[in-house]
């Protein structure tokens, strides 16, 4: 929070990016970066961001902080491996145009089921029940060998070659992930002002009042889970392709908590936060070993998470908004290049 | 209506039991109490008003349960901003709306717990003398009591703090008429017997007029006027104008 006391920098508001410019920057990024940065940093950020985005939808709009979004993504990853081609388990070898939608459908159904289980609960209870469901799924895929191939998981999960493009090459995968991420972002961003989105936010703020107004709170929550499940499901398919395998570690407790870290570090009030958090997480994960010499990645990410929760009202985006307010009040001028739509909704 | 503040409140007398000056209580953006001022020198003051006028918020502010701005003085000393337990230890006791007795504590435990921080003339035995009914039920849990018994317990719990100011929020709510009569008698005798000042928040006008020396009227988070209890009792038109009540009007 010391940043709020630093001397005002003239270029400060430039940190706010115009959506169009940001999209352009993301689109030309592969021309400037090497394969590692394209795939492992870029691709992984977009993919992880998409899964965190599904949590942002639930937590930011619906007030439901779940830990099971990685589980939903993992179910989709397992399904795309099982229905399509993979080694190790009982894969069915369906064509991709059937396997992919089916995998996402299964993820949506699973998400709706988790939603139904947890819809009656609130706050911390939601965290607990989703944690339990997630760990149960983890043990299921760990212990089952015939279908899920146990600890080893399913390998050789590769995206199809469509339109003559191998979608697993870094640049192709990056653009695929980018397309999915932009679509997901746009969907979530637009959802906020739809009737459903408004009702969901109303339920977040006061479920009783919404219920009294005739809204079916439970159904809205389940529907939100299903929508988030679709987003997480797409993220899960990308995850399986990115790793080229899926194993129980994909849906383990650490992975489940990572999604929460990503979403909260970025900020759960705005879809941008999920991707911002994912970028921070992926960069740290990749470079912590170079930065601090030792292997203290978890400590670093934990401390960042801790300070985010302690000092910012809403992750990095919240911090950004706080700083911006500060800048506006100190410099006495409105920052330019900012459309109100991209600021955290508060 | 906001203009008619009691002149005395503007320059609080240092020895007044309770002097509230320009008190604000906010919940988020909503203002529950707005610039309320109130003076209670001694004796019993009743605050009357309809639901949602900020009476309970005022009590919560005095006891320190909600943050507020403005000034609250207890015998000349500022208590606003102190944590609730410090305010309690200075002699402000609270009998809240709905009694709020602890369901997992017995009657006896309630009294022993309260009789710790300010030891004065009241003891648990004294409370049992005042409310013999409680003595019979001393080993019963808080929720096994009837409404009237719970009210006795809540009052007993408050008295054990040896208060110099007793706050009561809707003590008659949900009680049978006969119990209300007894309660009024008890309060009158308490007021006569001790030095204690009483601030009574009440919707039941008849009870308020019956017990209190003077009455303050609260509308929309603001104290609009204070008058002797007898004056309100005599003026039915005013009762209806201020309160919009018919069924509970004095003398109805």
């Amino acid at each position: 929070m010391d940043s709020t006391r630093s001397t005002p920098a003239a270029g400060w508001p430039l940190l706010a990016l115009h959506p169009g410019l940001m999209l352009a920057a993301l689109a030309i990024y592969p021309m400037l970066a090497n394969d590692f940065f394209i795939l492992q940093i870029g691709g992984q950020t977009l993919m992880l961001g998409l899964i965190a985005l599904s949590l942002m939808l639930l937590a930011g709009y619906g007030g439901m902080v779940t830990l099971s979004q990685m589980t939903v993504a993992g179910i989709s990853a397992y399904m795309v491996a099982l229905l399509g081609d993979s080694h190790g388990g009982a894969s069915l070898g369906w064509p991709w145009w059937l396997a992919i939608p089916a995998a996402i459908m299964v993820a949506v159904i699973a998400a709706a089921f988790i939603g139904a289980l947890s819809a009656k609960t609130e706050g911390i209870y939601t965290i607990m029940i989703t944690l339990a469901v997630g760990v149960a799924v983890f043990y299921l895929v760990l212990q089952n060998r015939v279908i899920f191939n146990g600890f080893q998981g399913l390998s050789h999960v590769r995206p199809p070659v469509v339109l003559g493009v191998d979608w697993r090459t870094p640049v192709a995968f990056y653009y695929l992930a980018l397309a999915c991420a932009v679509a997901g972002y746009y969907f979530v961003w637009r959802l906020r002002r739809t009737a459903f989105g408004l009702a969901l936010q109303g339920i977040r703020d006061n479920p009783r009042r919404m219920s009294a107004l005739g809204y079916d709170v439970i159904r809205h929550r389940i529907a939100a889970h299903a929508m988030a499940g679709a987003i997480a499901g797409v993220g899960g398919v990308l995850l399986a392709w990115y790793n080229t395998f899926v194993s129980p570690a994909t849906v383990g407790v650490d992975a489940m908590i990572n999604v929460l870290l990503v979403a909260v570090i970025g900020g759960i009030r705005h879809p941008l936060g999920a991707f911002l958090g994912a970028a921070v997480f992926v960069l740290l994960q990749s470079f912590a070993i170079d930065l601090i010499g030792s292997q203290r990645f978890r400590l670093l990410i934990g401390l960042i998470f801790l300070s985010t929760v302690l000092f910012s009202q809403d992750g990095l985006l919240g911090l950004w908004a706080q700083c911006r307010r500060w800048w506006v009040s100190v410099a006495g001028r409105r920052p330019f290049l900012i459309s109100s739509s991209e600021l955290p909704d508060r | 209506m906001r203009a008619s503040k009691p002149a005395a409140a503007r320059e609080p007398a240092t020895q007044a039991a309770l002097a509230i000056d320009r008190l604000d209580v906010r919940y988020g953006r909503a203002r529950a109490v707005q610039q309320a001022s109130l003076l209670l020198e001694r004796g019993t003051l009743a605050i009357v008003g309809r639901n949602g006028m900020g009476k309970t918020s005022l009590c919560n502010a005095v006891t320190g349960m909600v943050p507020s701005s403005g000034s609250i003085r207890l015998f000349g000393e500022e208590i606003r901003g102190l944590p609730p337990h410090r305010i309690a230890r200075r002699g402000v006791a609270y009998v809240p709306q709905g009694r709020r007795v602890w369901r997992s504590l017995t009657v006896d435990e309630h009294l022993r717990l309260a009789h710790r921080f300010r030891r004065g003339e009241w003891t648990p035995d004294g409370i049992y003398e005042l409310f013999p009914r409680l003595k019979q039920r001393r080993h019963n849990g808080g929720t096994q009591l009837s409404g009237g018994e719970q009210q006795m317990l809540a009052i007993g719990r408050a008295l054990l703090l040896d208060p110099s100011l007793l706050l009561m929020d809707e003590p008659t709510e949900g009680l049978a008429p006969i119990i209300v009569e007894q309660l009024a008698a008890t309060l009158r005798s308490l007021a006569a017997r001790t030095e204690m000042a009483i601030l009574l928040v009440e919707q039941n006008l008849r009870f308020a007029v019956d017990v209190a020396d003077s009455v303050a009227v609260m509308v929309n988070g603001c104290v609009v006027r204070t008058m002797p209890a007898a004056a309100l009792a005599a003026d039915r038109a005013l009762q209806q104008q201020l309160m919009g009540v018919h069924a509970q009007g004095v003398g109805s």
Partner: protein, 416 residues
């Protein structure tokens, strides 16, 4: 200047700086070698010992091979395949290492081997992962392994244990690929010799409380084959001891490792006499091994009494790599073709004996039947009962015979 173009310039500048930082600034005489081990999570203590082994091999040559200064660039995994591939990918694609050494555990090895197929320009040398299928099923032409897999090392033990009087054995092992291989290695010879395995208890990974498994041990078995590692091994032995268990314990290779033996506690005495089979033995009395142990112990203050298997395996991997680099004079041109040819033909004089590679670039080498003994200074070490100089990946069976048995799993092989 308007804000937009100023900002664009800034972001381009920023990108340029970012890329500048990431570009490899390698000195002429340096050769970067990636080294991935599990330095996080439950396997961290093993990963640290693995790194000790790798560094020892490099130090023996003064850090130079093939006329180049060898620099290790480290990567860390948490023993999950995804993290191993991420760490490896960073070293290959970002840090631009020419050679990769690692990873540590079985499922990581399979994942890294699959990744190796996408990076034909880089040569991968396995660290210590012992998964059977890594080199047996769909091997990658640029993936080399200088350690025996989990089944190979256990193969000599089965017939020996049978000879020593273990006729009926209950298997207690963790429920994943590596223990499957270990059990397969043991059972392939054991069943052939006439032994019976009436019951196998596959323990879910992460189980700490084995008391009900212990309670379910049938009375009519005379020995237990226990394949658990680290904390689980310690827990099992202690609980078995406390429950008054008295059956003979036969250990998997990782069960009698120094990571377990160097642990202090009362149950230690129960380990004395435990039969096992492994890549090496602590008390192997050959000059080469004794020198290796002495060097290992001198290399670091935190070193164990004797090098763990992981230190040993990484040491071998690095040593073979550096040998080959020397032989080609540091020539990694032509897609490392010459280097790989030399590496595939390696005759590695390891501290335990000669290790060569088969056509799948999988090690063929010695294994040792061992027994735990207590040294005069109180330390527990594994002593050699019998050395078997050469075991191949088909467990010295014919390919047809091995294929008939198939890869080890919960139910393969079986002889109830």
């Amino acid at each position: 200047m308007d804000g937009t173009s100023k900002m664009l310039r800034r972001s381009l500048l920023g990108t340029a700086i970012l890329l500048g930082c990431t570009a490899a600034a390698s000195a002429q005489q340096e050769l970067k070698v990636g080294l991935v081990a599990s330095l996080e999570g439950a396997f961290a203590v093993l990963g640290q010992d693995a790194v000790r082994g790798a560094e020892l091999a490099l130090k023996e040559r003064g850090g130079v091979a093939g006329g180049k200064k060898i620099v290790f660039v480290r990567g860390s995994s948490d023993a999950s395949p995804a993290s191993a591939v991420n760490a490896t990918r960073k070293l290959v694609e970002q840090d631009k290492v020419a050679l990769m050494i690692g990873p540590l555990s079985g499922s990581e090895g399979v994942a890294v081997k699959d990744y190796a197929k996408t990076q034909p320009a880089v040569t991968f040398i396995d660290g210590s992962s012992g998964g059977q299928e890594t080199t047996l099923v769909n091997p990658s032409p640029n993936f080399f392994r200088f350690n025996l897999d989990g089944a190979q090392v256990m193969a000599p033990l089965g017939p020996y244990a049978f000879e020593q009087g273990s006729k009926r054995v209950m298997v207690i092992a963790e429920d994943y690929a590596f223990p499957y291989s270990q059990v397969q290695g043991f059972m392939s010879g054991f069943c052939k010799a006439g032994g019976k395995v009436p019951r196998k208890a596959w323990i879910p990974i992460g189980t700490k409380d084995f008391s009900s498994v212990i309670a379910s041990i049938p009375n009519d078995v005379d020995s237990l084959l226990v394949v658990l590692a680290g904390a689980d091994a310690v827990n099992f032995i202690k609980q078995y001891d406390q429950a008054g268990g008295s059956k003979k314990v036969i250990g998997g290779s990782v069960m009698v490792d120094q990571t377990v033996l160097s642990y202090r506690g009362r149950f230690r005495s129960n380990l004395v006499g435990t039969l096992s089979s492994g890549w090496t033995a602590d008390a192997l009395e050959t000059p080469a091994w004794e020198k290796f142990v002495a060097d290992y112990r001198a290399s670091s203050k935190e070193a164990f009494t004797a090098p763990s298997y992981f230190a040993f395996a990484y040491y071998n991997a690095v040593k073979a790599t550096l040998n080959a680099l020397d032989q080609v004079g540091g020539d990694l041109s032509d897609g490392q073709a010459k280097f790989r040819k030399v590496l595939a033909a390696t005759q590695l004089q390891s501290p335990v004996g000669l290790i060569t590679l088969d056509h799948n670039r999988q090690a063929v080498g010695p294994a040792f039947i061992t027994k735990i003994v207590q040294r005069p200074d109180g330390k527990l070490v594994s002593s050699v009962v019998k050395a078997v100089p050469k075991i191949d990946q088909h467990l010295n069976m014919s390919k047809a015979e091995f294929d008939k048995m198939g890869i080890g799993s919960r139910d393969v092989p079986a002889c109830p």
